[in-house]
Each structure stands twice: as structure tokens, then as C-alpha cells.
Subunit: 205 residues, 2 copies
């Protein structure tokens, strides 16, 4: 106690006292996301993250022993919540609004970072992230889709045997595929087309 007080007293006020504990941790996690967004998973280094957070490499390694641990924590902390399921009285409109939210999440900083991890990791590393992807991304979006589809069933718009994991995967699969393979940026018109040409025919009675 006495020692740490005297060390702090020996340094200029301000920066040092602000950059302790949770605040420093947040700065490191934020720097990890920045690195993922700019240089990707393969380009990210513990040194680069430390530099980005204006701290030393030891401060990073003390908290996260590996790049994988650090990135998993950074993603877990930052992944955007998708909110409550939209409820506009029609499955078409609800799916359209839900896809716009998925797009916003995809193009957010943690969304870019997560896609960098998914796309760039070799299969061994990406297995380590699958649980995170499932609990942080696919499960929450599935829950919203399920709610939208169940309401459609209750209204008689959607066939009762539609729900299922493969059906829930269609939207994220097409959105990721076109973003990667065709460089699509998913404008509103393209989202509406996907809802009208794929999801509505797939779900209707």
C-alpha cells in the first residue's frame, strides 16, 4: 500500500491514476478491437495492442496469456446486443427490420472484428471461438428470428412447421456469403429483396 502510494506520488498526476484496473483493461480491449478492424486477426500482435492502449506488453500479458484469450474477451465485451424482437404486425416487416439490425451489427467495429476472426482463423483457432460465436451472435439472433416467426405462425402468416435451425441460418448465411464473396454492402433494397424472394416464400403457408 505504502509502496504503491509513493510510486504514484513520484509520477505526474492524472494519466497514471486514471489508467488502473478496469479502465486500463477497457483501453486494452478497445485497442484489440481496433487492431482486428485494421490489421485483422493475422496482423494482430500483443505488442500492437499494447502500443494502441499506450501501455506496456507486460500489462497485456498479465491479464491475457495469449492473443486468443485477449480477442475472445474483447469480442465478448463489445458484441452489440440486437435488442428486442421487432413487432410490426407482419413477418415481412419484422424480418426486414431484423436484417437491418443484423447489418448494423455486422458493420459495427466488433462486427468487423468478429468477421476478421471467423474468416482469418485457421480451423484449429476458429474452433476456440465457435462457442463465443454461438453464445454471442448466432443464439441471440436465432432467438429474435424465432420470436418473429412464432408471431407469424400465431397470425396465420407462417406455416407451423417452418421453425428450425437451418431456416434460422438462412439470413446470416446469405448476408455473410454476399459480403465476402460478392463484396455486397447490403443496402436496404437488397435486404428487402432477400426478405421478399427468399424468406417470405420459405416461411409462408
Amino acid at each position: 500500500m505504502v509502496t504503491s502510494h509513493s510510486v504514484a506520488a513520484a509520477r505526474p498526476q492524472g494519466v497514471v491514476s486514471r489508467r488502473r484496473g478496469p479502465v486500463l483493461e477497457r483501453a486494452i480491449l478497445e485497442a484489440a478491437l481496433d487492431q482486428l478492424s485494421t490489421v485483422g486477426w493475422n496482423g494482430l500482435t500483443m505488442e500492437g495492442v499494447a502500443a494502441g492502449a499506450q501501455t506496456g506488453k507486460a500489462a497485456v500479458y498479465r491479464r491475457w496469456p495469449s492473443k486468443e484469450d485477449l480477442v475472445a474477451e474483447a469480442l465478448r465485451a463489445a458484441l452489440p446486443a440486437l435488442g428486442e424482437a421487432p413487432d410490426h404486425g407482419s413477418v415481412r416487416e419484422d424480418l426486414y427490420q431484423l436484417c437491418r439490425r443484423v447489418r448494423a451489427a455486422m458493420y459495427s467495429k466488433p462486427g468487423f472484428a468478429l468477421r476478421a476472426v471467423i474468416h482469418e482463423c485457421d480451423s484449429e483457432t476458429s474452433e476456440r471461438f465457435q462457442a463465443l460465436i454461438v453464445t454471442g451472435v448466432t443464439d441471440p439472433s436465432k432467438r429474435l428470428l424465432e420470436e418473429v416467426i412464432q408471431r407469424g405462425i400465431a397470425r396465420g402468416e407462417v406455416r407451423p412447421d417452418a421453425p428450425g435451425d437451418l431456416v434460422y441460418d438462412v439470413i446470416p448465411a446469405i448476408m455473410m456469403y454476399r459480403a465476402k464473396v460478392c463484396g455486397s454492402e447490403w443496402g436496404d433494397a437488397e435486404i428487402a429483396e432477400m426478405v421478399d424472394r427468399v424468406m417470405v416464400p420459405l416461411l409462408r403457408r
Copy 2:
């Protein structure tokens, strides 16, 4: 002429004379695919490819000035043909057989290599490969899907307004998504489930 003859004569017979022109080129392209399958796009180096082809780095650079050029050529030369559209008298069976062929292509050596390129390239590099992916992979598989669907329309199984790019993207999108995000290996039962739960409801009248 005289010089090259005398050089060949000065070396042991066999290897040197067999490793000229197209044969050496094929060995280099094959080594590039091997590298992509084992160390991925990011791990591939011109040195590694030269070593794999048991030739010198200069022999590689003389033909392909960059890693991008080499990989594009290697993929173009090796991508498997999907063959003629299956024709078993039902859209369900035809789609099932077509998906099994897509799976075989995905898990072939050039298929792994192409996925390494798609997943690992940063967006700038992957733009350079998009034309190749379109002409070598998505266009041919779309043509087969279109044929299968048009025959289904002629038989009255498929609704006439079903055909369209977004509908053709559903199968490759889900197959790539589950392979990457859930580590799926697409056994026959999973393919059948995708056809029955997604494609048949999406296409039927």
C-alpha cells in the same frame, strides 16, 4: 539452342529434361495448391512454393510476378468442374445430388485452397479474386441450379417466379456458413435436411 542442349547434356538425364515448360509450370501450380491447403493464403510464400516444386524462386517469379497472380492461376487451372446438371425426375433428388457434388468440390484440394483465399484475404486482395470466384465457382453452380429449377418448373413442381440470384445463393451460402461458423462437414443427412427444410419449401408452388 546449342547452349541449352549442351547444358542439358552436362546434367544427369531425366529430371532436368522432364521439368521444362508446361511440366514445370504444373509442378509449381500444384505446389501452390498444396501450400494453400496446408499453410493457407497468409502462410503461402513464393519461396515455399518453389521448395515444394523442387525448383528455384526465380523460376516461380519469372512466370508469376506476385503471390496473387500465382494463386489465381493455380485455382483457375484446378477448380473442379461440377459436370452436367443432375436429372432424376424430381427437384428434391436433383438438389440433393447437386449439393453432394458441391460438397465434393468444397472438400477437394482446390476447394480448400479457394476457401483459404476467400476467408483469409483482406478485402483488397479478395476483390482481385472475386472475378475468379464468379467465373470459376458461382456461375457454374448457378447454371446447374438454374437448369434443375427450370426442369422443376416445367414439371409443375416449382413456382415459375422462384428463379433469381438470391435463391441460387442459398445453398452455397448455408454450406459455407455452417462449414466455417459451426464446423459442419455436411454429411448426407444434413444435406437432405437442407434440401427438405429450406430449398423444397422455398421453391414449391
